[in-house]
Symmetry: C2
C-alpha cells in the first residue's frame, strides 16, 4: 500500500478513492510505517488533527478515524484534551511454566479479554495425536481464541484438547472467557507448560483481519503443550502474536 511520503498520498487521493481504498486507512498505514521505522519516538506527540488534515488534504473527521485505527492497532494512545501519543513499547509476554494470559496482561496494567472466534470437533492428525498422547483420527476439540489487552488485539490462538474429556470446552470457554477457568470446570486446578517452540512468519488473511495487522508485518508464533502436574497432556496450542506489539520473555 502506501509507504511513500504524505505528498504521494495527496496526489493519488482520487485514484485511491476510485479503487475503493478508504482514505483513513491509508493515512493510518502511512503513520504506522513512520512509527515502525522509528520516525516517531515512543511517547512523542503526533501533530494536531488540524495540521494532519491540512497536510493530507482531508477533513478532520477522516483524521480522527485514522487515529482511532492506529489506537486499535496499539500504536498510539489518545488522551482527551491533550492529543495523540506514540506507543511503541511492547507487551512483554513471559514464556514460563505457569503463564496465564489474564495475569500477564493485568500485571502490565492492562485489561484482558479473550473471545471465542470459532470452534469445531476434528480428527487428530499425526502431530496432534503424538503430542496429546492420542491415536491418529481420535476426536479433538479445536478452539480459535482472539485475545486483547485494553481492546488492542494481542494474539490469535488455535487450541486442541482431547474431545473425550473436554468435549464441552467451547461452551464452557464462551461462558467463563478464560482457559484457566475453563479447565477448572473440568477439574484441572493446576497445570504447567511442558515445552514451547517459537518461530516467526506472516499472518494469513484471517489472522491479519482479526489482529488488525498488515499482511506485511511479522508475527511471532508459539507452539506449546500444557500438561497436568502429573505430566498428562491437556492441550496443544499454536499462538500468533503481532511482533510489533509483543515480545516473548524467558526468565531462568
Amino acid at each position: 500500500m502506501l509507504t511513500k511520503t504524505p505528498r504521494g498520498l495527496k496526489s493519488s487521493k482520487h485514484h485511491l478513492l476510485e479503487r475503493g481504498v478508504m482514505l483513513w486507512r491509508c493515512i493510518a498505514d502511512d503513520f504506522e510505517q513512520a512509527i515502525l521505522v522509528g520516525k516517531h519516538e515512543n511517547g512523542s506527540k503526533l501533530p494536531a488533527e488540524s495540521e494532519i488534515a491540512t497536510r493530507y488534504g482531508v477533513n478532520r473527521h477522516t483524521v480522527r478515524r485514522a487515529m482511532a485505527e492506529l489506537a486499535t492497532r496499539g500504536l498510539v494512545r489518545t488522551e482527551r484534551g491533550s492529543g495523540t501519543f506514540v506507543k511503541t513499547d511492547k507487551l512483554n509476554y513471559p514464556i514460563s511454566q505457569r503463564m496465564k494470559f489474564s495475569e500477564i496482561v493485568a500485571a502490565a496494567g492492562h485489561e484482558a479479554e479473550g473471545r471465542l472466534q470459532g470452534h469445531r470437533h476434528e480428527e487428530a492428525n499425526e502431530d496432534i495425536a503424538r503430542d496429546l498422547g492420542l491415536n491418529v483420527g481420535d476426536e479433538v476439540v479445536r478452539l480459535e481464541i482472539l485475545r486483547a489487552a485494553d481492546r488492542v488485539p494481542i494474539s490469535v490462538s488455535t487450541t486442541w484438547l482431547p474431545a473425550d474429556r473436554y468435549g464441552d470446552a467451547a461452551k464452557v470457554f464462551r461462558r467463563v472467557r478464560s482457559i484457566t477457568r475453563m479447565l477448572e470446570h473440568f477439574g484441572i486446578t493446576s497445570y504447567r507448560r511442558k515445552w514451547t517452540r517459537i518461530s516467526a512468519g506472516f499472518a494469513d488473511a484471517v489472522d491479519a483481519g482479526r489482529l488488525r495487522l498488515s499482511v506485511h508485518r511479522p508475527v511471532l508464533v508459539t507452539e506449546g503443550l500444557n500438561v497436568t502436574e502429573g505430566g498428562e497432556p491437556i492441550m496443544l496450542g499454536r499462538v500468533r502474536f503481532p511482533a510489533d506489539r509483543v515480545a516473548l520473555l524467558v526468565e531462568s
Copy 2:
C-alpha cells in the same frame, strides 16, 4: 525480486541481465519462494538439472550455481549422484540456562562454526550500562559474530562485555572461536543465561548479506544477559536468526 512463474523469468531474462542481476540468483530466489510457500515438501527431490535448464532457458552451469546458492541458504542438500533434495526442517535452538551454540549444533548432527566479523571498543549506552551493571559511558567491548551449521548461516550476534575485564575478548575469540572457550581464558568456567527477550523483524542490509537472506524474510531476534554463577553480569547479546532456518525451543 522474482516471485512469479518461471515463464516470467524467461521473458525478462534479457532485461535482468541488462540490469546486472545474476541469473542464477534469480533462479535460486524463484525456488526459495516456491519452497517457502510449501510447493515442495521437505525431503522431496527437485527436478533434474537438465529439466530446470530447459525450463528456464539457461545452461546447466547456471542451474548448478543456483542449486549451490540454495544449499548455502540451507534450503536444499545435494547428494552426489542422486540429486537435490528440499530441506525445510529447522534447527531447534534451545533457550535454556546453559545453552552453548557449538553443543546445540553438534547435538543436531551439524558442524558448528563461529567467525568474528568485527569488533570495537565503545561507550556503554543506558541499556547496556543498566544490564551489565556499569555506568553510562563506561567502556565495553563489542563483538560481531557470524555462526554457521554445516556452512549454512544460522545467526549473527552482537555481544557487549565490560572492557575493564574482557578488553582482549576479540583477540581471544579469534583464536579459540568459541564464546565458552573465550570466557575460560578469562577464568569463567561456568555461566548461565539470566533472561532472554524474543522478538521478530527483518534483517538490515548488513545482516541480510551475512545471513544470505532476502530482506523480505523475517528474523527472530533474541536479546539476553549471561551472568556468573554468583549472578554477576558477564555479557549482553543481541542475536538475529533467519526464521526460515531456526526455531527457538523453551523446555520446562
